[in-house]
């Protein structure tokens, strides 16, 4: 039993690049929630963070588009974006290729993940890491779900990935935290950028913390695109974490639309290690 914490968080690049332009009180609350997640991960003694994100053409293109991929490099690197724009300095990020290999071999029993021996993190990884492990002290195992380019895999396969990750994590001796990061409604970089469908976001988040599998798997890409925009295809990452933590009801630590960040920002806590399992 080595999953020590699981949750989700937002990764809008505006949280760092346009940070100060938001309502100060909302920003303070968001950063406090990020910090609570950081302290919880550290307090649980996590020796690695498995981070499930959706990258934005930093590593993967349609010449060879992985549906699911897990990193197995000696170290990672990021952010790939201009650090002066993103306001996150470029750095190497620690890895654990031995743990990666064990997780991949286990996940491959039921889900057909690809592997990547190089990975340049974009804001999808770098923004959460900046808040959750600002000193980059905890090794990261990056996991990617294709949420950018059709054909995309159906949501029930992201659910299957979550189950497989949980089983793999539980079979590792290390204490591991699992974080999903991806959008609620947003229309990134398009003329509709800044549009937010708060009602749709709040319903989704309610399904996520209550682990309503049927409701979550009922989302179709057509509905999601209409109601939540292209960025909302990233709900695959949160659905994955909900599957991995189905046995517990989660908590909303923060959930508010922040227009200048172009999305509803949320921090969800989806799994905390039960007291009787604490070592």
């Amino acid at each position: 039993m080595s999953l020590v914490y699981a949750g989700t968080c937002c990764h809008s690049p505006a949280i760092t690049s346009r940070g100060e332009m938001a309502d100060p009180q909302l920003r303070r609350q968001l950063l406090e929630a990020f910090d609570r997640q950081r302290r919880t991960i550290e307090g649980a003694g996590a020796e690695a963070i498995v981070m499930v994100s959706s990258e934005h053409f930093a590593n993967f293109f349609m010449d060879n588009m992985p549906t699911f991929s897990i990193g197995i490099a000696d170290e990672y690197y990021g952010p790939i974006e201009d650090p002066n724009w993103l306001k996150i300095p470029r750095t190497t990020i620690p890895a654990n290729p031995d743990l990666s290999l064990r997780l991949i071999n286990q996940v491959m029993q039921s889900v057909d993940v690809c592997f990547a021996q190089e990975w340049k993190f974009d804001h999808g990884m770098s923004v959460p890491l900046h808040f959750l492990t600002p000193q980059y002290k905890i090794p990261i195992i990056p996991v990617n779900i294709n949420c950018q380019s059709k054909p995309m895999s159906p949501l029930h396969r992201s659910w299957a990935l979550g189950l497989a990750l949980r089983e793999a994590i539980n079979s590792a001796p290390e204490k591991i935290a699992l974080i999903g990061t991806g959008g609620t409604s947003h229309w990134p970089c398009t003329p509709d950028s800044g549009k937010i469908n708060e009602a749709w976001d709040r319903t989704l988040i309610d399904h996520l913390i209550n682990k309503r599998k049927d409701a979550l798997l009922a989302y179709t890409d057509e509905d999601t695109y209409r109601e939540g925009g292209g960025g909302a295809f990233e709900i695959r990452t949160s659905v994955c974490i909900a599957a991995a933590t189905e046995e517990q009801t989660g908590e909303v630590w923060f959930c508010e639309p922040i227009p200048i960040y172009a999305t509803t920002c949320s921090i969800l806590s989806l799994y905390q290690q039960p007291l009787d399992l604490l070592t």
Partner: protein
């Protein structure tokens, strides 16, 4: 599938500062490495960000090309809106369904 190569070129530029430098020094040579139509080469050369958007280029790629071509954010958003006014709705790809009227 020519749109594919427009996007592949932008993907390469975004990932690799060296290729980016080569591109802005000698664009025609770089264009020659990709299978592109004349309309695509023209739109890339100008650049006509609005037309590239209407052609269906994914905005996660297009945004970076606009930035490296000197557009700030409001100019970039406006260029896409102008593109739709001038060339009509997005022709293919993800945004073919989007109204593009904008939110803010």
């Amino acid at each position: 599938m020519s749109l594919y190569y427009v996007q592949k070129l932008l993907y390469h530029l975004n990932r690799d500062p060296v290729q980016q430098q080569h591109f802005f020094e000698d664009r025609d040579t770089v264009f020659g490495h990709y299978t592109l139509t004349e309309e695509e080469v023209d739109a890339l050369r100008k650049p006509d960000i609005g037309l590239l958007y209407v052609m269906g280029v994914n905005a996660q790629l297009l945004m970076h090309y606009a930035t490296m071509s000197g557009y700030d954010w409001p100019q970039y958003i406006q260029a896409m809106r102008d593109g739709i006014d001038q060339y009509g709705p997005v022709r293919e790809g993800l945004y073919a369904m989007q109204d593009g009227k904008g939110a803010i």
